[in-house]
């Protein structure tokens, strides 16, 4: 590992540690806002891990927030399990579905993969709506347990930190080179000995596992949800936009993208109620047109900084 890589790792760990101390000092609302930002950093990092590096566009990531939320919620409601025990199980549930779905669909490329995953999320939403004996259908479920407000802050911070760490590891490891090779030319990658299907599947399942855990936690934080809340395509779209804004296939892309979008939305929404969405839309379009590699990607290019290399 090069000196630059190690230095950024230490910097990252220091940032997470500093954030963890913040609740002792910060005003209440900003903790709430940060809680939500960390949640979205986590989701965007999961999406970026799979799609940013391989170029496979998953348009159904909301399937895994939904599975996570429902697995955890129903385990609490029907079996009375404690909330914290249901979270890893929710991740496991999402991971297993990802394994079953990823096995065949990860052989598809381009738009076909996007359509297959989009259909998955929609189909699962219908199942939850129709299977009212188990899920109470479209009326939704009320979650009986909730953690303290600060627990969500720390859990989301921890998960976001972990996921950015995983992305950093992937970026600096053989696994990441494999993923990038798939992005550039999958056939060539296979020919030089990358087990493309295996590493795609590993990444997809890992990403789904964490999305499931995040979805489960957020379900309990909201306290009530229905299928079209947790399987909502807007969740996926937000992950995509955040990754695009920050820079796809970069370690800090999801962090920058999620923070930027949430902060801008919060700031403008409070001041320009009637046209803030227009401004945000213009900003998104502006970034995509003028900074096609996203904020971090384009900055890095401008400043000629490469990960792990001296300028």
């Amino acid at each position: 590992m090069s000196g630059g890589g190690r230095r950024s790792l230490y910097l990252g760990l220091a940032a997470v540690a500093a954030m963890a101390w913040l609740p002792a000092a910060g005003p209440a609302y900003y903790l709430q806002l940060l809680t939500i930002i960390f949640y979205w950093i986590g989701l965007a990092a999961c999406w970026n891990l799979m799609c940013g590096y391989t170029g496979y566009i998953d348009f159904g990531s909301a399937a895994y927030t939904g599975i996570g939320a429902y697995v955890a919620g129903l385990l609490m409601l029907r079996l009375g399990l404690p909330l914290l025990a249901t979270i890893p199980l929710a991740g496991l549930g999402a991971g297993l579905v990802a394994l079953a779905v990823g096995w065949p669909t990860l052989r598809l490329r381009g738009a076909y993969f996007a359509i297959a995953t989009f259909a998955l999320a929609e189909a699962l939403m219908r199942v939850c709506e129709e299977w009212s004996g188990l899920t109470e259908g479209g009326v939704g479920i009320t979650i009986p347990q909730r953690l303290a407000e600060l627990s969500y802050y720390w859990l989301y911070l921890g998960l976001a930190g972990l996921l950015v760490g995983v992305t950093w590891w992937v970026e600096h490891h053989k696994h990441g080179y494999g993923l990038k090779a798939i992005h550039q030319d999958e056939q060539a990658a296979a020919q030089v000995g990358v087990d493309t299907h295996l590493i795609k599947l590993q990444t997809y399942v890992t990403s789904a596992f964490f999305i499931g855990m995040l979805g489960a936690l957020e379900g309990s934080r909201l306290g009530y949800f229905k299928p079209d809340d947790v399987f909502n395509v807007h969740i996926t779209i937000k992950m995509v936009i955040m990754s695009l804004l920050g820079g796809m296939g970069t370690v800090l892309g999801p962090v920058i993208g999620a923070s930027f979008l949430q902060l801008v939305e919060d700031f403008l929404g409070a001041r320009f109620l009637n046209y803030y969405l227009v401004i945000i839309g213009a900003i998104i379009v502006g970034v995509i047109v003028f900074l096609p590699r996203g904020i971090t990607g384009s900055l890095r290019q401008r400043l000629r900084i490469r990960p792990g290399r001296r300028p």
Partner: protein, 408 residues
């Protein structure tokens, strides 16, 4: 070159943000209310009505000097984008960042569930006139109050009206979007249809994201029901009418749980909006009268003057929620800044209050759910919303059966 373009964007953004920062500060002798309501997304149009209602209440009160005649009212509105996570976040913002004195409720059961849960954690009373899912009252919440009836009861007028027409319908089909309010509406339809001896020949809940309404309605058409009852919000109601015309589906009557009373319904569908029935909790000709706005008719007139349209019942219910909170505040003699102890007293007062208003009686009792109002049904006749049920308040008799699409 590219650098310069990016620079211009950043400059524009910075300018916009600076302008935004120049928001007015908080004056000492006023009450600040906070409200997170959908102004974009699926419920953007419905939420705008709620915003109008509170704005109207604020303007009326302030023109008279304010609450208790001396404390002006200011409302901070935020857009929750029809998203529960955002709704809860904005309530947190209003309470902890903007430090509002009190809250005003939003619109839509999912958003209100999340927002009122946040309000409950901060012990802020949350009164809503824009949500009626039964689930809202099953949480044991102490700070949640709703002026609308529970969804299953709210739609009763839609079924009751068909007991008053001749020939009496024999069969009904029930379809509705599978989200809380509309699904519970369907449950209410079924309950009362069976009670009155109408045979339910078709029952289907469809996903809210459904695009192909034609196929869904063809199934109902095949059963040849006399009456079609639809569990709907505005968007669903409009899509159903359009699809009915396309597939030439001609039941003798069609009724919606919500939608036709929103002005956008008649504006959007024009003549096709005629003859549809809708449930209502309130119409301007009901014999209700109370503080602040006087009678239902006077409220309607003043509202028309301000917005050039009549208020629908969600607007009336939302205004009533603001009024009942105001009356409780005045009875307790609250002054700005409202303290945490004041809010506990206000919550207790609201559980006891028994008030007649322009919107009808308001009595929340222990559960927080308003006492049931008598069921009312309206019908679109010549582009106007006409109260057609019950007979003692009806402006005109219901037009039944509805003429076929090719005979209009």
């Amino acid at each position: 070159m590219k650098f310069r373009r990016a620079g211009i964007i950043l400059l524009t953004l910075a300018l916009a943000l600076t302008l935004g920062l120049a928001a007015p500060g908080m004056a000492a002798q006023e009450f600040t209310f906070g409200c997170a309501v959908p102004l974009s997304g699926l419920f953007g149009k419905d939420g705008q009505l709620v915003r109008d209602a509170y704005t109207f209440w604020m303007e009326t009160i302030n023109a008279r000097g304010g609450i208790a005649g001396k404390y002006k009212v200011r409302i901070i509105f935020y857009d929750d984008q029809s998203d529960p996570q955002t709704s809860a976040k904005l309530v947190e913002r209003l309470v902890t960042q903007d430090k509002v004195d009190l809250l005003l409720g939003g619109f839509g059961s999912s958003q209100v569930m999340a927002a009122s849960a946040a309000a409950e954690r901060h012990k802020f009373p949350y009164l809503s006139g824009g949500a009626s899912s039964n689930k809202l009252y099953e949480r044991g919440a102490r700070y949640y109050f709703g002026t609308l009836g529970k969804a299953t009861e709210e739609v009763r007028g839609c079924v009751d009206v068909f007991t008053s027409v001749t020939p009496r319908p024999k069969t009904v089909a029930i379809v509705g979007a599978n989200i809380p309010f509309t699904a519970e509406s369907c449950k209410g339809y079924k309950l009362y249809a069976e009670k009155y001896g109408f045979k339910v020949v078709h029952y289907e809940l469809f996903p809210i994201s459904l695009k192909d309404y034609n196929t869904m309605l063809l199934k109902a058409k095949a059963k040849k029901p006399d009456v079609l009852l639809v569990g709907s919000h505005l968007a669903v109601a409009m899509r159903v009418v359009k699809a009915m015309k396309e597939i030439d589906f001609n039941p003798k009557g069609v009724a919606f749980s919500y939608g036709p009373t929103v002005p956008a319904f008649v504006q959007g569908l024009k003549a096709d909006a005629n003859y549809v029935f809708a449930a209502s909790e309130w119409t301007p000709n009901l014999p209700y009268k109370g503080p602040v706005f006087g009678s239902a008719r006077q409220f309607n007139q003043a509202y028309r003057q301000r917005f050039r349209r009549s208020p629908d019942y969600v607007e009336a219910a939302s205004t009533a929620a603001a009024v009942v909170q105001q009356v409780a505040m005045e009875q307790l003699g609250l002054k700005p800044r409202v303290t945490a102890a004041d809010r506990v007293r206000l919550m207790e007062k609201l559980h006891q209050i028994d008030l007649m208003t322009f919107y009808g009686p308001i009595h929340f009792g222990k559960s927080g759910a308003n006492r049931e109002h008598p069921p009312v049904a309206v019908q679109v006749q010549n582009g106007q919303l006409i109260n057609v049920y019950p007979a003692k308040w009806a402006e005109k008799p219901p037009i039944y059966p509805t003429p076929a699409w090719n005979k209009r």
